[in-house]
């Protein structure tokens, strides 16, 4: 059995809403697991069930070999960083960090030692006497993490902790969280709706939609090999291009082109998915793109345009290529990197 084990966990709210459907998942010790999905998909509910802040309607949660379904949150030895940090406004930073330790009956010298160590690790030693209202967003974030670290819990839970920060600080804190987690080595679950955050932080990623884990795997596995239409569309930025198509006798016809000898026995209506970065310009082209707009990011250009049937399409090319607005591009799919999904079920078929 792994460190954290969820077995057929289901959450039904008293008003009948089913937030989480029979979800099973295991997290290894020291692993950084990220739950990613659109808002309202049940990822936070799942996290809060691990924390003990939500009752479990059905199923079992085991932490470190112990069933914790009925264990009080304070007894679970988990620490959580909230979206709005939930710092204690009337206590200074020192007491914010020390409060959980005091409640566990730890003696004063040990508390001081631990708080100072955590403060040093997070570089908040200078603010220990300040109240949270006198701190900036990033400093508050650190205090919230300090409060989690100082208790040395079995598991860290992060509930979208970066969404209140500005873009630059978010990237910086993202790095710091990852570094910190590697340094401290605590098993962590991080909930986010931001796929970049998810990709960069995760050891393993769970893409959740409508209360179901759509796919579980390392970020690269999920990026390279999405198992459903939802995952393919959710992971990757800019989003994957989707075209309607049809398969007959191993030949896919979509838009104005055909792909022969595809690796699938499926027949019928499909969606063809192509990532903007898996395209290149070539002579014997499959796709003809009329350019509407070019976003120059420096390292890359994002080229937006329309296909023959007015379908929106995006192509990502190296930043050193000059592409004019209104140009006609002929594009080819690199190395057969395309994805085919059953249009009715959304399942991957190639």
């Amino acid at each position: 059995m792994s460190f954290l084990d969820l077995k057929n966990v289901t959450k039904i709210y008293p008003n009948g809403t089913k937030a989480v459907h029979e979800t099973s998942l295991s997290v290894d010790e020291g692993e950084f697991m990220v739950f990613v999905g659109p808002s309202g998909c049940g990822k936070s509910t799942l996290l809060r069930m691990v924390a003990g802040l939500e009752d479990i309607t059905e199923g079992d949660i085991n932490l470190d070999g112990k069933l914790i379904n009925e264990v009080d949150p304070s007894e679970r030895d988990v620490a959580m960083v909230f979206q709005n940090y939930a710092l204690y406004p009337h206590m200074n930073v020192y007491n914010n960090l020390a409060y959980g330790l005091k409640n566990r009956g730890i003696d004063k010298e040990t508390i001081e030692q631990k708080v100072n160590d955590a403060a040093k690790l997070l570089q908040i030693s200078d603010y220990l006497q300040r109240k949270p209202s006198m701190l900036s967003g990033g400093q508050r974030q650190r205090v919230a993490m300090g409060r989690a670290i100082v208790r040395n819990p079995k598991i860290f839970l992060f509930d979208e902790p970066l969404s209140n920060l500005d873009a630059k600080l978010r990237i910086q804190m993202r790095l710091e969280i990852k570094k910190l987690q590697q340094k401290v080595g605590v098993t962590s679950i991080f909930v986010t709706h931001d796929q970049v955050e998810a990709m960069t932080l995760a050891d393993r990623l769970a893409v959740i939609n409508n209360g179901i884990i759509e796919q579980l795997g390392t970020p690269i596995e999920i990026y390279d090999n999405p198992k459903s239409l939802f995952v393919a569309g959710f992971i990757g930025s800019p989003q994957m291009n989707f075209l309607d198509g049809n398969i007959k006798n191993k030949t896919l016809s979509a838009e104005s082109f055909e792909i022969k000898d595809i690796d699938s026995d499926f027949e019928g209506e499909v969606k063809l998915g192509i990532r903007p970065e898996h395209l290149s310009q070539s002579e014997n082209s499959l796709i003809n793109l009329k350019v509407d707009l070019v976003e120059q990011l420096g390292s890359d250009n994002l080229v937006y345009g329309q296909l023959k049937d007015k379908k929106d399409f995006c192509y990502r090319c190296p930043g050193n290529l000059t592409i004019e607005k209104g140009a006609d591009l002929s594009l080819n799919i690199e190395n057969n990197k395309y994805y085919i999904f059953d249009k009715s079920t959304g399942k991957r078929v190639n």
Binding site: G52, L53, H90, Y99, N103
Partner: protein, 283 residues
Amino acid sequence: MKIKPLQIIAHIILILGVLLMVVPIWISFASSSHDSVTILTEGMKFHIGDQLARNYNEVLNEKGGWSEEVTAAKMFINSFIMALGIATLKVVISAMSAYALVYYRFKLAVPIFWLIFITLLVPLEVRIFPSYKIVSDLGLTNSYTGLILPLVASATATFFFRQFYKTIPDELLESAKLDGANAWSFFIDFLVPLSKTMIAAMFIFMFVYGYSQYLWPLIMTTAEEYWTVVMGMKIIYTESYEGVALPRTAERFAYIILSMIPPVLVVVFLQKWFIKGLIQTEK
């Protein structure tokens, strides 16, 4: 800096307001420092006279009442104990009941809250007979407990505490839970410090409320040693018409001035907290 006409008008209005509040108090104070004869013959005074110490000493220490045993000093102590008891218990009880109503999500919380709220419509004066009956059956007449106990439940304070607790974000409770706080420590470590200013404000209101009680102590106490200041005010007023002696007007003024001191002290002392809470924004 140029002063605008509007500002001048505003200041005149404010100054008039201040005078309206302060002048009567000053007249009372100035008059309390004269001889009663002077006041009776010449009317109330604006300047300080030479009888200040004598009058105040007399008011505080002269034994009065039917048995000639109770002094004003004793009445002040009684009023202070009563007001302090009422204010403290009112704050404690309403804070705790509001805590139960907000954080313990039992089904009857809302009906119970409205039941408490309805008691606002039933002030002590309306329920004075049943209240007296209960207190006298419990043998609590002529005791501090009897003076305080029937007045300690407060719908107003419960309501204010409830509204305040509702503004505290759920995450704070959840975070405290994960930090190992139980129901009691969440109340003591979080709600009480967070509502400090609220407690101070409620304490001031309730202290003044308790201090100015008249009807209840009048009915409750037959023994003079439990008389309160407000009751004494009536006694000192009627007393002067009973005898053939001159009305003791100057002493009356001294008594009035003295009776104002305890509530003023409470306000002055707690004001610091009160203002601190207003200027310090906490999220």
